[in-house]
Symmetry: C2
């Protein structure tokens, strides 16, 4: 407690604390709206001032959170009887400890360095010039090490980074799970790569007019996945994303390519999975720090479930093929539900993570995880990174990037200081199957999913995952919903079942 | 000065003050974006939480402004050498005095009462039931009187209300100007009303497809008035408005009626006038309280100039008729530039303010000004208001509303507590002509305007009006730009010149 004049005021109930947390949540919603607007509708000349405005609101929220009165309120709060209030205090104290452990100078230095690194990365990727980005990448890893030192950790500095995206998860756990996944799926990938094509893929690049593409993507998002224009909108942006300003104000974006419809369809359903997670968070958590996903991995499990486990399933295309054929008669000419299902599940080891299929995707992630661990530990030098990247690509996927732009420079993450973030994509993939299996243990859910109906599944997800927001940890949610901790088992079984069938490997 | 711990910190330069003012300005921009989004793209179910978020950000800005540190910084600030800094201190001290004179309980009571009055007004207008709105209207005028008492005034409580919208203007001045305007234009209106039609008006209701309407409205806004998609957007909303989040982030909205194109065309050009004002404000005032219009009246002078003085001029339609005819061939069939010019300048005494022409519009305002003065003074009772309204309508315009919904209940303003606001519309009309006359005193501007080119005029407006933002008062701007204080002279002369010609009254 400080001796500031406010300390005379009561800290005996949570009302003042909640009022401050509402303000912070509202500031965060405003910043998110500014960001959404920037990517969708903002006129180009507005960019400079918009950047200043967003930084200013973020700074104001940080000031509110690190002001002495917040410490007093958190220290002086009574132990709540209410479970939600108890979770709120637990999570806010954790966030607060993280926020107050960082010296202001460090935050400023990092912010400047990230900004410079981001611009350097854009230029480096454009010019295929890794060397010009290398000093910035070194700085990002140096800052990550210092960040971990400020936050503290028991086993590995990576734990302190990962915890921001996947609370409670440790690098050691990720290593074990990823090694298991790699050892069990690499042989499958090798067999698929050696097998003949499972379908004629030429339909994927037939023209599908944009308006019809959009209408079909939205129709399915609504009918199958429960999205509604009452509480959501779909717009276009250069990079698809989902954001929300409340559980009834969900914004998703997608991008369209007339001659490659999978991009917009699966992209829209992916973001719909994220959106429906936010929509399912309990109204009791409204405008508080609990009103968000439990982790990036849990969030990704919901988007991947809609995009891949459901949207790329045979049952789904049996049900929606007639609507697809009506929306895109030229694409569907001479095509069956089965051949479309096979086409959208093409496995092809390739260079770019964001375009990877269900089998190869995780290898892109495992490669990044291994490299960022080594860089953080100092056992790999930044100068050696492109070579290490290309060697791993060859080892895992049998391809070698013809340029660093299509290799080590392809992702924005490291340039933005997002180190420890990549594993959450694969955690999401693994969890998506583990959750779907648990839901389908209820026969009526399994029966519906076989008919490509997802109403009961969505109720189950809301009950077991969505409603809790951040009030439970990912590990608690996973254990309670599926009966066991996260592992690669369900995902491996899913891949074998689906792709041995598709590629005639049985 | 308080004895809070912060008082030990220096107040010797303006940097901390400016940082706080930037934060307040950014909060205000965020709230404006939330409001724009609410009227354009927000999904309907989001409304409840959006209302809470906007109120929360407004409350936070108020807390920053009324915190003890702000008083210290304003009291302790050195006298700046820089003119802009001096204006900043002057305006912020004035705003601060107003904000701190109101007790918190008054602000809360008023906010609640306005909310109730607004909902009561919506229902009353729908049901044509003035009696159900009357107690709320009484409350609004009671609160207005108490507001004036809190703020203080020399001559009339109305001055304290008017000052919020038209800084420095007094009710006594408005009375004199309005009486002059009324006495000189009522005879003109009577002669017009007795004259035969100036044109065949049937073209105004011919179908003009919406996409083409929009494209033409935008094309003219860009080509004639300088709007650019680089720093602006046009969207649709139920009620047209203009807002901005910086001088390079202007948002205007309009509404479209396929069988009444004047609504979207003149509406778009009206909002373009507002937008170009904000665009012209000096970048040196960015993210400060000086970055806004000098007053509502000065703002309206810019919108009315584009909409009416230019957009409804003969020269304008001579120039843009070919483009109009290309955009709307069915409307333009058998129509000439001259007949279109005459049609869009139809004078018709009627019931509704927002649809009124250049001659009758100000009578709608004068009526409201007189009535709100009497209500504030207590010489008119709320119960007597509908009768007084209808009598004035008959006296000024020769029409009597068939219902209160089309009479005293037509405007939102009083239900929102906006008392003292209406005169700014007519002040804007008067000032628009006074400014345009002053600009046209430069022969090269007059010559351009005769060709419906407005580049030099816009430069003149930026130099004499826009750039100053709120750093000069409306009276200072008016005097410096036109050489004399605001009066009805220029507007009266304009009306006579235009409408004696149109209606063959010479």
């Amino acid at each position: 407690m400080t001796t500031a004049p406010q300390s005379a005021e009561s800290t005996g109930d949570l009302s003042e604390l909640k009022r401050l947390l509402h303000q912070m949540s509202d500031l965060s919603a405003a910043e998110a709206l500014m960001s959404w607007d920037q990517e969708t509708f903002m006129p180009p000349a507005a960019a400079r001032v918009r950047g200043l405005q967003m930084a200013s609101l973020a700074g104001l929220a940080h000031e509110l959170f690190t002001a002495p009165r917040m410490s007093e309120l958190l220290n002086g709060a009574p132990t709540p009887d209410d479970q939600t209030d108890a979770a709120l205090l637990r999570v806010v104290r954790r966030d607060h400890a993280k926020a107050t452990r960082l010296p202001g100078e460090f935050v400023e230095e990092r912010s400047r360095a990230q900004n410079e690194a981001h611009h350097a990365w854009i230029a480096a990727r454009q010019n295929n010039d890794f060397a010009s980005f290398a000093p910035h990448l070194e700085k990002m890893f140096e800052l990550a090490r210092r960040y971990a030192d400020h936050q503290g950790y028991d086993d590995h500095p990576y734990d302190a980074l990962l915890d921001d995206y996947e609370p409670g998860m440790k690098a050691a756990q990720v290593k074990v799970i990823f090694a298991d996944l790699r050892d069990r799926t690499l042989p499958l990938l090798r067999r698929i790569a050696a097998a003949p094509d499972a379908a004629d893929y030429s339909m994927l690049t037939r023209p599908f007019p944009l308006d019809a593409q959009r209408a079909f993507a939205v129709r399915v998002a609504q009918q199958a996945f429960g999205l509604s224009p009452d509480f959501s909108r779909l717009d276009e942006s250069a990079h698809p994303f989902q954001t929300s300003f409340s559980r009834d104000d969900l914004r998703i974006t997608t991008r369209f390519d007339e001659t490659y419809f999978p991009m917009s369809l699966f992209g829209t359903w992916h973001e719909t999975g994220h959106a429906m997670y936010e929509h399912g968070i309990s109204a009791a958590l409204e405008r508080t720090p609990l009103s968000g996903g439990a982790s990036l991995g849990v969030h990704e499990s919901q988007s991947r479930m809609f995009e891949n486990l459901l949207g790329r399933s045979r049952a789904f295309w049996q049900r929606y093929f007639p609507a697809f054929a009506e929306a895109a008669p030229e694409v569907a000419a001479g095509v069956s539900a089965e051949s479309l299902y096979r086409a959208v599940n093409r496995v092809r080891p390739d260079l770019i993570r964001v375009e990877a299929d269900e089998v190869t995707y995780n290898f892109h992630i495992m490669l990044r995880f291994e490299l960022e661990l080594s860089l953080l530990e100092g056992t790999l030098k930044v100068a050696e990174l492109p070579e290490a990247w290309n060697a791993r690509m060859q080892e895992f996927l049998g391809v070698t990037p013809p340029s660093d732009a299509q290799g080590v420079l392809q992702d924005i993450h490291w340039s933005a200081g997002l180190i420890g973030y990549f594993p959450t994509y694969t955690i999401g993939n693994l969890l998506s199957v583990q959750l779907l299996d648990a839901a389908k243990a209820q026969p009526e859910i399994a029966a519906e999913v076989e008919r490509a109906e997802y109403g009961k599944l969505r109720e189950w997800l809301t009950q077991h995952v969505h409603q809790y927001g951040r009030s439970k940890t990912p590990a608690e949610i996973t254990l309670a919903a599926t009966g066991r901790p996260l592992s690669a088992d369900a995902y491996v079984k899913y891949l074998f079942g689906k792709y041995e069938d598709l590629y005639g490997l049985r």
